[in-house]
Symmetry: C2
Subunit: 105 residues, 2 copies
Amino acid sequence: MTTEQIDGVTVTTQANVYFDGKCVSHRITLADGTRKSVGVILPAQLTFETAAPEIMECVAGSCEWRLKGQAAWTTSRAGDKFSVPGSSSFEIRVTEPYHYICHFG
Amino acid sequence: MTTEQIDGVTVTTQANVYFDGKCVSHRITLADGTRKSVGVILPAQLTFETAAPEIMECVAGSCEWRLKGQAAWTTSRAGDKFSVPGSSSFEIRVTEPYHYICHFG
């Protein structure tokens, strides 16, 4: 099931722009203080470093991803999630815009 | 004064991607049903068509803009707003990411 919207949030109006705009996200904060971000990755192959653990939830489009040290790519489509450990990295390759929610912690 | 965050909104998780990603926005809906979007325009010169009237509020970065039929460009920086009539268009040129809130109606 795809999370089409999230209710009762505070949105930070300034976007986060990564990789010259290949990744753009907006931070949201839930009523209980939980922070997430909603974003999109445009066609590219990128490597992201993690500080805290992250869960990447696809809401539209698709990507292929692999964790640091993995050889094989896995496809993620709308409704799919994958988890990334903290203090690590993952690669993502995108051929159509990949829309996501990033859950931290 | 700059609007750094907006509280109590529903965010649509799928972004709107325009002009091959030169403009990316997320739609938000306030408790009273009012719709806005928060977005960013990356370095480019673009022409946007309007359906409803819009107020563009800069929250970070800057742009230059002119309404349809205008010769002169006006600079908009954090805290500035400009209004665009409905069923019209405006041009925008950006040399550093222009972060905005778009208010409709």
